[in-house]
């Protein structure tokens, strides 16, 4: 996202926040909210999209419900306080904290606040523990979350050929973290009038349970990814494959797959297949096998057999097993049963192999074009070209 746009958004919302504070809030209360939001940026909750979400939504939810009587006045400044808090974080700590969540997070909180404020006009004197109030709260949370996901799709869609619709769907996978934050906030808000400080424990423990579970899940996913990468490097460590081939192939394959519109799990399969497709070369450590004739399809078969020993990688093994099947044989129609993910890995692996022989990126793409429509899927070759142009590897 261009810095000028970010700066303009930051400036506009900061001015709106200061203005609303001057008009509606005591300065000390506003300063506390800004500081609270700033602190929340340092306590992100892990999410499936790996962008994380700060605990600011929980703060917003708690403030909205506990000041229900004057929600109309408060909510207007809540979303504006967030950009000011980012400025504070930037000044104190540097630019990196929370940047990836801007502006989707303040937009989401702002829409939540606006919707809840509208609903509050019709709720009369109902308190926070009322079912109707909480229903309105849930609807406002839903609206805010959809707005946040839409903003994230709009921002990350710039320069990305993946349809924004798919980016939006991907952004929606972060719902567990948002659900925990807003529910914990509501739990605090409805119990604090009767339970006082115990409400912090009542809300804090379920929040901690949710946070720890998502944190463990993310840490385990990170370890799993690291392990797959390490296993993919073992043939390289044994001198059987060019150093770095697995990692480069995986990186490019994921980019091409994303541009093709592949979803989260399909992209994971592409990445793992790209990392592990040469692991079958370990079989060549046996001199009897190495002395005989073997083809790339043989290597794929050995790789698929090794990968298939891990039951959870069955689908990855299936991709690797067929990745060396040609796109189309002369005089025959294309086999629709061949998965596109397998062809993505085939094309990208072939590209990296050409690069490893000393060809330039443009020459390597030309080599692939010569085999397009038979050896290689022409659409995937074209997508690879677009990715390389975007990365500046070849001229547009």
């Amino acid at each position: 996202m261009p810095d000028r746009f970010r700066l303009a958004a930051l400036a506009a919302t900061s001015i709106a926040g200061i203005a609303s504070a001057v008009i509606w809030w005591p300065g000390s209360v506003f300063a506390l909210v800004v500081a609270g939001y700033a602190a929340a940026q340092f306590v992100p909750m892990p999410t499936p999209s790996r962008l994380g979400v700060s605990t600011a939504p929980a703060l917003a939810g708690a403030v909205a419900l506990t000041t229900h009587g004057s929600a109309v006045l408060v909510i207007g400044a809540l979303s504006a306080a967030l950009p000011l808090s980012r400025l504070l974080v930037h000044l104190l700590h540097g630019r990196r904290v929370g940047d990836e969540r801007f502006p989707s997070e303040p937009v989401g909180i702002g829409v939540f606040g606006g919707l809840f404020a509208l609903a509050a006009l019709g709720l009369g004197g109902r308190d926070a523990a009322d079912a109707v109030t909480l229903s309105a709260y849930a609807l406002a949370v839903g609206g805010g979350y959809l707005a946040s996901a839409a903003m994230r799709a709009a921002v990350s869609g710039r320069g990305h050929s993946m349809p924004r619709r798919l980016l939006f769907i991907r952004a929606l996978t972060d719902w567990p973290a948002h659900a925990v934050l807003y529910s914990a906030a509501a739990l605090y808000a409805v119990t604090v009038p009767v339970m006082g400080g115990w409400s912090v424990l009542l809300a804090g423990l379920p929040y901690a349970f949710g946070h720890i579970s998502l944190h463990r899940l993310q840490a385990t996913r990170h370890t799993y990814d690291q392990t797959i990468r390490a296993l993919g490097q073992i043939p390289e460590a044994g001198g059987m494959v060019t150093a770095g081939h697995a990692g480069r192939t995986a990186d490019l394959a994921v980019a091409v797959g994303a541009d093709l519109g592949l979803g989260g799990r399909a992209l994971d399969r592409v990445e793992y297949a790209a990392l592990l497709h040469d692991i079958g070369r370990l079989v060549l450590a046996n001199p009897a096998v190495a002395a005989g004739h073997h083809t790339p399809s043989d290597v794929s078969g050995w790789s698929a057999a090794i990968i298939g020993e891990a039951k959870n990688l069955d689908q990855v093994a299936g991709l690797v097993a067929v990745m060396h099947s040609p796109y189309r044989r002369p005089g025959e129609r294309r086999d629709p049963g061949l998965p596109r993910e397998a062809h993505v890995v085939r094309v990208v692996s072939a590209y990296d192999t050409e690069i490893s022989t000393g060809r330039s990126p443009l020459e390597a793409i030309e080599m692939l074009h010569r085999g397009a429509a038979y050896d290689f899927d022409p659409e995937i070759v074209s997508m690879l070209r677009h990715v390389l142009e975007r990365r500046g590897a070849i001229a547009a």
Partner: protein, 432 residues
């Protein structure tokens, strides 16, 4: 029916009778919990959580059912608390798998165990409940009482399980109660939270239930996914190790056996679960480095020269460095490297490295390789004792005791068979 089955039936029957008598007594002494829809809601949550414990940390499984038990106890009050929770526990004893497979002995034992534990635990909680409706000033005593009562519930439950397992399966090792402290603390905290939650329900109303449900549902889903991913991670590494082993017919199954010997030894030495787990992983990956060793070197019929041995170690270290780049595997790679250092003559090696080296050596001696046959188990024990200065006396004697206790016998059945196989191996080596 053999003796063990008969004893098991007697114990399960006794427990079931105890549970039934307890329930009958409670029906007489306590009032029925009401309203019925509320009890059904709590019972459904209790049963669902009892059947779906989650792995919150390395092999630490926790079920949230104890939290529901104390929430219900607080909500229903002194008049009905014990009966309400005992009834929930009675239902939770019958797992759908037991019903599908028409297993009755296990559920009967579970029924008595859960009902009795719940009754004792919630009875301890009764004095901490107020006479009338719960009010905010009651919260500190309620929380403390629920934590204490949850600990009692857990202690009685665990004691009954331990009693049964010790009598029916004496060969199984159970972690002593104190070594599972983290489990017990977690359950006490959940119990305390259940008490506070019950108080919140009384003070605020049913509106808090969906809010609690959402946060715990997400947490449960997260831990469930974490557990599945952990298993997938372990399966991936084991699958890779198995595939690599399959490349060499002489070492098929080697890492699994070494991992088993290592586990048996470390358990007898009283290793903490985390430490035991690290050692088990080190055993699984300790030979992965061999994939980078040229086959001619690996399967050389004669002993390796010093230079050839150094080349082999260099190749293995390259792969170990790759695996050490994985944060999770780095400590285990360190243990595997330490075991190699022991073979190089290093004396300053941690006990984990010595256990792995001793287990590796035992399996190597009791397996036939390309250059020699397997020896008898007795001979292997003697060899280990001769090298006790290298591996440590305690490690050697513990490993030997663990293998003898397992009633399995490894290696050649006798010296004559070993001599025959040795001759065949040498003949094949000469022809090769």
């Amino acid at each position: 029916m053999n003796t063990q089955d008969r004893i098991g039936t007697i114990y399960s029957g006794t427990l079931a009778a105890l549970g039934a008598a307890t329930l009958i007594g409670l029906f007489v002494l306590q009032e029925s919990p009401g309203p019925l829809w509320l009890w059904v809601t709590f019972a459904a949550a209790f049963v669902a959580l009892e059947f779906s414990s989650v792995e919150v940390n390395d092999r630490l499984f926790v079920s949230g059912s104890i939290m529901v038990a104390f929430t219900a106890a607080t909500v229903f009050g002194r008049e009905s608390a014990v009966l309400a929770v005992a009834l929930m526990a009675a239902i939770a004893a019958f797992h759908p798998d037991d019903l599908r497979q028409r297993r009755w002995r296990q559920p009967a034992g579970n029924f008595g165990q859960l009902v009795f534990s719940a009754t004792v635990g919630v009875t301890v909680f009764l004095p901490f409940l107020p006479d009338g409706p719960v009010e905010a000033p009651d919260l500190p005593l309620l929380a403390a009482g629920a934590a204490l009562s949850a600990a009692v519930y857990d202690w009685v439950n665990f004691g009954l399980v331990r009693f049964m397992v010790r009598r029916l399966y004496p060969e199984r090792t159970l972690h002593p109660w104190l070594k599972m402290l983290t489990n017990h603390v977690a359950l006490a905290v959940l119990g305390a939270f259940g008490g506070i939650l019950g108080a919140a329900y009384v003070l605020v109303g049913p509106v808090i239930l969906p809010l609690i449900f959402v946060t715990f549902l997400v947490g449960q889903m997260g831990f469930h996914s974490y557990s599945k991913l952990r298993s997938a991670h372990e399966d991936t590494i084991r699958g890779f190790v198995k595939a690599v082993e399959a490349l060499d017919p002489y070492t098929r199954g080697h890492t699994e056996r070494v991992a088993a010997f290592v586990r048996m030894t470390a358990e007898r030495l009283g290793f903490e679960p985390d430490r035991l787990e690290r050692l088990r992983w080190a055993a699984l990956i300790h030979d992965v480095g061999k994939v980078a060793v040229p086959a001619a070197l690996l399967h050389k019929p004669d002993s390796l020269t010093d230079e050839e041995y150094r080349r082999m170690v260099r190749h293995m270290r390259v792969v170990e460095d790759v695996l050490a780049g994985v944060d999770f595997l780095a400590p285990m790679v360190g243990i595997a490297a330490a075991h190699h250092a022991l073979l190089d003559g290093s004396t300053d090696v941690a006990v984990e490295g010595r256990i792995l080296a001793a287990a590796d050596a035992f399996d190597a001696m009791t397996s036939t390789r390309s250059y020699r046959s397997a020896v008898t188990q007795r001979t292997a024990f003697d060899q280990l004792r001769r090298r006790r200065e290298i591996y440590g006396v305690e490690v050697v004697e513990t490993l030997i005791a663990a293998i003898e206790m397992s009633s399995e016998v490894y290696g050649s059945p006798d010296d004559e068979s070993a001599a025959v196989v040795e001759r065949l191996v040498r003949e094949r080596a000469i022809r090769a």
